[in-house]
């Protein structure tokens, strides 16, 4: 636990809860620190690096789609820092198929690659609606898909975590891998935006 606790009501409640859990032998300072470290080291910049590499390196793209965990390890990322290792898969957007992620039961999300999830991802409205009417929900995010684009909604209900591989934007042939990575947004990695 960090020493930088504030005295806000929520911080006080969290601190009491931590003390009780540790007192009951259910967790430890070290375990909590490790989890907090995992959450705060995740960032959409990690996912963006993976995407940019896949855009510039067709061999990497193939390995990423075939075995996400192994391809992550090539770039020094891991899905095994939490309480139990997670399977990682990447779903690729194409001109005819669009993927979008949700966890209808709670808020499962690839934190190591995308950082903490946005509040809308955890909202009941998003979770209830995107499985039912994804085209309308995506339009509200500003993403109008052609009528003949197939939409696949991935409900993260077990021990896998997913990331969307967006389509590389047109006109970016001259950009470096680093420049490409800067184009990739968190919403692009969830599937609620194009890149």
């Amino acid at each position: 636990m960090s020493g930088q606790h504030t005295n806000s009501e929520i911080a006080v409640r969290v601190r009491r809860l931590e003390e009780r859990l540790i007192g009951a032998g259910l967790t430890s300072d070290d375990e909590l620190d490790a989890i907090i470290g995992q959450v705060t080291s995740g960032s959409p910049a990690n996912g963006a690096r993976v995407v940019a590499r896949a855009w510039v390196d067709p061999g990497y793209r193939e390995r990423l789609l075939a075995d996400g965990n192994a391809a992550l390890a090539e770039l020094g990322f891991s899905m095994s820092t939490g309480p139990q290792p997670q399977r990682f898969t990447v779903v690729e957007n194409t001109p005819t198929r669009h993927n979008v992620l949700v966890c209808t039961l709670c808020s499962c999300y690839p934190i190591a690659l995308l950082g903490p999830s946005p509040s809308w991802y955890k909202s009941e409205a998003y979770r209830a609606r995107v499985v039912r009417e994804p085209r309308a929900v995506l339009a509200e995010f500003g993403l109008e898909l052609p009528a003949d684009t197939e939409i696949v909604v991935h409900d993260t209900s077990a021990e896998s975590r997913h990331m969307v591989l967006p389509m590389r934007p047109a006109g970016t042939e001259g950009l470096s891998e680093e420049e490409l990575a800067r184009l990739v947004t968190r919403e692009g990695l969830i599937g609620t935006a194009a890149v």
Partner: protein
């Protein structure tokens, strides 16, 4: 739990049971027929883990694809993929 009972391409029907404990079969996907699109390997059953059972069942997990129209009625037009433990599923024709 040994070999997966289902393979990619198999049609499966989800359970209609509403258990009195945590489960990862979402309510909207109960009693539905879908198609296995991926076999994910074996994982401890979330229902058992959430109940604190000391020896949770370890089962194959499948990615199962459902047509939206079956889940929600017309107009449909998209797919919903859900990740389901084997004990949530039975074979369908």
């Amino acid at each position: 739990m040994g070999e997966p009972r289902f393979a990619v391409g198999d049609r499966v029907r989800t359970s209609t049971v509403d258990p009195p404990h945590h489960t990862r079969l979402p309510r909207y996907a109960r009693g539905q027929v879908g198609e296995v699109v991926e076999v994910q390997g074996c994982w401890p059953l979330a229902d058992d883990r959430a109940r604190g059972l000391s020896d949770p069942r370890v089962e194959p997990v499948y990615t199962v694809r459902f047509p939206a129209e079956a889940l929600w009625g017309p107009p449909g037009g998209h797919w919903v993929q859900v990740e389901l433990w084997e004990s949530y599923l039975e074979g369908a024709t």
